[in-house]
Amino acid sequence: MADSHDSSGNGSVDRRDFFKGAALGAAGLVVGGQRATAETPVLQPSVELPVASHDLSYAMPAQASSPAPARAAGQGRPASDFMVDVLKKIGFEYAAINPGSTFQGLHESFVNYGKNTAPELLTCLHEEAAVAMAHGYAKAAGKPMLVVVHGTVGLLHSSMALFQAWADRVPVVVIVGHHRNPSGVINRPHSAQDMGLLVRSFVKYDDEATTLERFAESAMRAYRIAMTPPMGPVVLTVAAELQESIVTTEPRIPELIMPAIPQGDAAAVREAARMLVAAQSPLIQIAKMGRTPKAWDLLIELSEALQAPVDVMGYSSWQKFPSWHPMYGNGGRGYTPDVTLGLEVTDMSAPARTARANGRKTISITSEYLFQGSNIHDFGRYSEVDLAIAADAEATLPALIEEIRKQTTPERKSAIAARGAKVAAAHKEVQLNAIRDARYGWDASPVSVPRIIAELGDQIAGDDWAIVSGHQFTGDWQRRLLNHDKPYRYNGDCGGFGIGYDTPASVGGALAHRKAGRLPVAIVGDGDLNFSPGVIWTAAHHKIPLLFVVHNNRAYHAEVMIIQRMAGVRGRGNENAHVGNVITDPNINYAQMAKAYGMYSEGPIENPKELAGAYQRALAKVRAGEPALIDVISQPR
């Protein structure tokens, strides 16, 4: 209980003074069926705030002994209105929220002063979903979404998704409210001495804005830091007291000035070009590439200039390279790279080690050298490459390509062309065989994953489609069976290998594609969907067209296999490996779940012959501007 005002002078708080004139906005607080009186005091939910000018680095507000005087019309305005002006200037289109009293000031300003436009509020049923939506949105839209969360509880809920955005190097801007001087049993746990500490290990920047001027500058700085490679999430703490204070004069809102993105050192780029042009079997590996659609074109230019295969690597990669391009692949059987170029690859330790042991070379161009966290070990091992260039890979590619062209003599050009023809032929054989492999289990029930995807591809062939979910558990069948010929066909994976990203991130990605009229589809696991199922209500409520295909294998199958292996290592039977890993008994009906959230749905489908019809009906809804869901009982992998 707050006791900073001891009117009795005897070291104890006078109860009558303490409670007199408390501003109970809800016409009195009822506890245990009784209204508060002097004899039955209850804890105050909030203190009345002083009128403040913008340059008040405000002291602890005094306990009000009487209600604040009514404000004359035209005298100042809520500080949170100014904050909305700042956020509008930055240009946020959307703000994903799950409401909380610590940002009631900002919330009210968004919907009334800001007219719920730019940013438009997106109602989320869990803060993890809100941040994951922002994560998926940022990759598809090329710019961040704002997220606003409640103090401590909201930020903690969102922490998993913040970690994933961090690991994926994706910008998300989060504002978290709290009470600088909390009172009451509810407010105190929602406040913290150092709010940013809760998530500091996995955000690029965090700050608490203590004045409006600092809010304006910090918001601009936060956006700039989030969007400067290596990109990442940022958090800005704003006290409720500041939001709700009244502004009589306002600070200037600074301009948002973005820095020029660092490019590779000219001499180093020349050396990289020399090594690559001279190489007999170069390999390009890409991870967090690229920030913009321009990177797609640049990667194609680079690979074609060198006639070098492009290995899009695994789950942590953004995989922005056309999947049916002749250079898509690792070179084919027997291709041993003598120079490997890593572009935004966080950890090149393994290829570097192998290369050194065999007299080969590695080059790394990545912004990771410019900034890295330390607590979370997503940075991997130390990469002992031969040439390390601290720069944004996308920004460096134009100079690198130009150098490669300058240094490619006519003799090298024909040798490079001959290599390219061999690589293209090898890749084509691998890709065609991979497509043929889809025939196995074609008519199986439960339905095979390639069948799910092939049938989907057939139905969306005439659409400008975009897959907004990852491929962690679908064995890359999307990239084998569908021609990923545009940068937005695929939106990457979760970053931190945590389940629960795909479903909400898909909603964010779909939102980004809505303006362009694209057809977003998401293939999400049942395990993933259960982490934030409420986000499908968000999709329905905000009319975000998106087809969810639930890859429903009724288990966390990777973990079933892991426990089987562990039991085998320990010489125990496998009979119990499923305990704690399967999602059965009862089976969850995701079609019914979707209907409960107000979405069109079909399923569960166990017969692959029923897929085409279900897809047609569901896609009709999506094309008309609504989300839809199909539950497919699938093979484990």
């Binding site: 049916w324 391009h325 002749p326 293209a424 084509k428 890709q431 065609l432 065989n433 991979a434 497509i435 043929r436 492999d437 889809a438 025939r439 196995y440 289990g441 074609w442 199986a444 439960p446 095979s448 994953v449 390639p450 092939a454 049938e455 591809g457 057939d458 064995g475 069976l481 021609n483 288990a555 199958h557 079933v560 296999m561 089987q564 292996r565 039991a567 085998g568 290592v569 010489g571 125990r572 039977g573 496998n574 009979e575 490996a577 499923h578 093979q635 484990p636 992998r637």
Partner: protein
């Protein structure tokens, strides 16, 4: 069984399991399984949960179990002490149960239709071929 025959069978298994090409060789004729395929299906799907990696029908998942090229004794020796990382060991599983599982795997259709005979896949193959 001699080591040479075992090695040949093992190599054949590895080859057929990884090639994925239309022109994979026919597996060598194997002796009839001794176990009970019906019991084996229950073990495969419920008790030992082989489906978790290999699919409910042995055709999906990784790696595929069909066509099964290992003779029964080779199969038993392998699953008791697998050389492949990631494959759990079934050293504690009774021999009779493993023979039942083998019988079930052998009862699964061992071949898949050519992709060219499946209109959807043929369409994808044609598009990929024409792409470049």
């Amino acid at each position: 069984m001699t080591h040479r025959l075992a090695l040949a069978t093992l190599l054949l298994f590895v080859t057929t399991g990884t090639a994925g090409a239309q022109s994979q060789p026919e597996p060598a004729p194997l002796a009839a399984p001794t176990g009970n395929a019906q019991r084996g299906k229950v073990l495969y799907e419920t008790t030992l949960r082989c489906y978790a990696c290999h699919g409910f029908d042995g055709q999906t998942g990784s790696p595929r179990l069909v066509p099964m090229a290992r003779a029964e004794d080779i199969f038993l020796a392998y699953v008791r002490k697998p050389a492949t990382p990631g494959m759990p060991t079934f050293a504690a599983t009774p021999e009779a149960e493993l023979r039942d599982v083998y019988a079930y795997i052998r009862s699964i259709p061992q071949a898949a239709p050519p992709a060219e005979n499946l209109p959807l896949l043929k369409g994808i193959l044609d598009r990929r071929t024409k792409a470049n």
